[in-house]
Amino acid sequence: MKRSSFHIPLLALFGAALLMTVLSDTLTAAETIKLGVAGAHSGDLASYGLPTVKAAELVVKETNAKGGVLGRQIELFVEDDVCKPEVATNTATKLVSKSVNAVIGHICSGATKAALGIYKDAKIIAVSPSATNPDLTQSGQYPNFYRTIASDDAQARLEVDFAIGKLKVKKIAVLHDKGDYGKGLAEFAKKFVDDSKKATVVLFEGITPGAVDYSAVVQKIKKSGADAVIYGGYHPEASSIVAQMRKKNMKTFFISDDGVKDDTFIKVAQKYAEGVYATGPKDTSKNPLAVAANEAHKKAYTADPGAFFLNGYAATQAILSAIQKAGSTDYAALGKALQTELVDTPLGKIKFDKRGDAIGVGFSMYQVRKGVYVEVK
């Protein structure tokens, strides 16, 4: 998520009010562990940020009831960045000035990027539940950054590994719909195939979304001799391309992304959808911890949790567990604990790799079998 523009006066007012309440709080509890929660809590993207606040509140309430971490109670500092980079720097500065020990957030990739430099200088770790921009971890600029969501390129990685490793294809055609999402994915897929040296990209092209038919592109795929097509984009075009490929008796594998992993795709492509592969978020809804977290949310707020709730839940748990395991809130020790100690969360047992991406969180490969998407193990 990326957003920009601003509401500074409003935010300043809001921040000042918050500061006052927070100040009075800190006076009463001196030896607490301070967790910042930053993200979009107002404005039109508030629905992405508020569930994480609720998740953090629930985890903290539960932990405090059990006696806290390292014998200390946990205190939350909730700050709004309205999903805007220029506001996020203020938010971050404010949290730093309150000497928080770690931050849950931010929510939007752009805002997260703007805030991370400030946390880095202050040696504060930030764990985002939702910022998916690949650069945040891959650029290596932010060693203090972790996230409990897979980055955009994870799907492309999974698609390529699946095609080369499981399907053993040698020639891959990479297509996309020229949009930000589809093209971004396709470019990653191409890069991963090239880097692997085990297969070659025989065709890399953008198609025109909404065109009357795709027979020329399909002929081109056929001519390229590709064993598999990796498509970055959404289901309307995917269903057309697959249908035309199958009508031309092409058995080429078709692998796509979560824009295609949608039941509408199966409904529209019907019999031609059979055998199509698509990546989608790992299904964790049956995880007992996820069930418990959702239940707790329903009990506390009498509503179903919103977007990224489980990711926010996992982020809070990860950071608290890391503090527990590290035995302190020291920056280096915390980082080490996050990377080495497994923690049981609604998303499964997770820890983080050196770059800060959660291992074990992410996407699974699905295949259409008898008219439904089935996870491919």
Binding site: V212, S215, H235, S240, T264
Partner: protein, 300 residues
């Protein structure tokens, strides 16, 4: 060589699709110099009607070619009624108004019909059953051209021939040509201009509905928006061939279809539309009235 042939046939199919819709544009323009932007929506309504009829018939156990024929007949009648009504509501009251007014009215009609179908039906894509039967003798050539594609190409050819003969040799055709040349003079000579215009809209809508059934059956999915995109391309084809000319619409459709197909096949599909519109600009520079259009001096 096979690859070239495949692209040629792919382009031919695509061109036929454009041509079938372009015929309606070009006829209306020929008679009342109006670009009927709602024409694409009539095509979409034809496809939706056929989908509903076909679903009902299939549910009642009917199969095969009879479903295609019945669905097409209902779609044709229904679309013709729409075309007729649209003309009466949106264009006839503006017959004497400046030329821009009916154009705006047409755009409004297009938006209205799109949203009407979206609200009355759905905004999702719907699967369209494959109504065109697979011809057994085509099996061997299916990698070059499928039965559905062949039927689209043949239908376009037949429809064009019938239409040309109709306009040349029937009484209504004669009246249409007279109205196209000079409305007032035709009226003075006893031609019922209003009826001629209504007929034109009905014929255009019939063609659009036939196109809607065949094309949706070939592509396999429809939503309320298909008319807009197909309409824009068909309009381009009509202008390319010379708007107002019936063979021009077909030629324009073919040229556009082939350009897109070969550009995709030999260059890159990223620039499919770029090539198509570059060609349009080039042709209009050298032949401002289009490939087969006659440039007539504006009557002042």
């Amino acid at each position: 060589m096979d690859y070239f042939l495949e692209l040629l046939m792919g382009g031919l199919t695509r061109g036929s699709i454009y041509a079938l819709i372009a015929l309606g544009y070009t006829m209306v323009y020929g008679i009342i110099q109006l670009i009927n932007f709602a024409h694409g929506e009539i095509y979409m309504i034809g496809a939706f009607t056929a989908l509903i009829v076909a679903s009902v018939l299939t549910m009642n156990g009917m199969t095969g070619i009879s479903v295609l024929i019945l669905a097409s007949v209902v779609a044709v009648l229904y679309s013709a009624a729409y075309g007729f009504t649209v003309e009466k509501i949106a264009y006839k009251p503006l017959r004497q108004a400046p030329r821009l007014s009916p154009l705006i009215s047409a755009i409004g009609m297009s938006i209205f019909l799109q949203n009407y179908v979206m609200l009355a039906q759905t905004s999702d894509f719907l699967p369209f059953p494959n109504l065109i039967p697979d011809l057994p003798f085509m099996e061997h050539y299916s990698h070059i051209i499928s039965s559905a594609e062949l039927i689209i190409v043949l239908t376009t050819a037949v429809v064009t021939i019938i239409l040309t003969l109709f306009i040349k040799f029937t009484k209504i055709g004669k009246a249409m040509r007279a109205t196209a040349q000079d409305q007032e003079m035709a009226m003075l000579a006893g031609v019922n201009v209003n009826r001629v215009i209504s007929n034109t809209f009905i014929i255009g809508s019939v063609l659009a509905a036939i196109g809607g059934v065949l094309i949706a059956s070939h592509i396999g999915r429809i939503n309320f928006y298909i008319g807009f995109i197909a309409g824009i391309k068909a309009f381009t084809a009509a202008v390319l061939g010379g708007i107002g000319s019936i063979p021009g619409a077909v030629l324009g459709g073919m040229v556009l279809g082939w350009t897109e197909s070969f550009a995709t096949g030999y260059v890159s599909s990223d620039y499919e539309d770029v090539f198509a519109f570059c060609l349009l600009v080039l042709i209009l520079i050298f032949r401002p009235a289009g490939l087969l259009g006659r440039s007539t001096a504006q009557k002042v």
